[in-house]
Symmetry: C2
Subunit: 220 residues, 2 copies
Amino acid sequence: MEIVLASKVLRANAEVADENRARLEALGLVTLNLMSSPGSGKTSLLERTAEALGGEMAIGVVEGDIQTTRDAERIERAGLACVQIQTEGACHLSAPMVRDALGRLDLEKLALLFIENVGNLVCPAAFDLGETHRVVLASVPEGDDKPAKYPEIFLDAAAFVVNKTDLVPHTDCDIERLKADALSINPELWVCALSCRTGENLDAWLDWVRGLVRTGNAQG
Amino acid sequence: MEIVLASKVLRANAEVADENRARLEALGLVTLNLMSSPGSGKTSLLERTAEALGGEMAIGVVEGDIQTTRDAERIERAGLACVQIQTEGACHLSAPMVRDALGRLDLEKLALLFIENVGNLVCPAAFDLGETHRVVLASVPEGDDKPAKYPEIFLDAAAFVVNKTDLVPHTDCDIERLKADALSINPELWVCALSCRTGENLDAWLDWVRGLVRTGNAQG
């Protein structure tokens, strides 16, 4: 009974996700669904990306939170167009929530759209939002066992960003093990270790994003 | 439809949770449900607690993970009796899963039982397991906005443990703000900031646990 209903919910979600995807692709708009545990640095990565790329391309953000508008306020202070979704308890974003948010953005003017999912390394994996790519973040102080313990979310991701490399000297996290475990789950992952705090290796992330937008707009 | 089913699942869970609670209380067994994001340090706190209290009292652990037996292996290396639950994708433990695990432990011999929930700051909050108390962990590098953004899990908790205080000098986390926000959600919380890595303030946690076990056994 539970399983039947779950499939029904996921099927309904998938239909709306396909509509979202068609709409975004028709505009040539690259959409990245950012997923991680609470506090891995999704909003910090968006702030850094806004600072660096905001002058080059028009970026929008759909900000998902269970409660509060704190992240949306941070994104707006960083100068990006932002729509907040408050899920009111739900542990992940769904395609219908994103469809409603898309209606409140001036999509024609954008080249790149980020969707910041609810902080949760489990549930968001099951819900396609219509994004071009999924990006999973984890951070050094969380430890190097996260891909092995939460493999599902890595399966359909295009990129794995390891944040907070500045904390490596103060933890036992082995970044090479983290990378190897993630790649054993999904060998297609583009993996990038960086620090939003110090800016270390942020250029690699920015270049990856630039490359996607170039290709996306050429297709659109 | 979704909501009806969710209530039905939660009602069925609550019934089994009440059975678990009655069984554990009859034995005078203090049971703590540890909940946090992935990587906040639930297993590390258990390892430290095992080292310090393992000689004083018999401690058991029910270890919840989506995949892998890594945490259970760490707990067994620390010398505690441990039963592993693999949720196979489920994002939280449920009372029936815990009931099955209790059947595999020699409960009569234990004075203290930990249940380590799946790493998730959202979903476990909705599922009573029959525990005596809930303990929420967060760690310094996750940032000081977690109580405000994920309030639900703090509402019914007895204690809030802030781990990784050794990383305070390397982050922007304001521990006083973290505590104040958690207490504004639940003024009854016992709050303790410590470091499993350095052992800083671990004694406060151990004394709190000792106090619970003393009272629990007097009642049982």
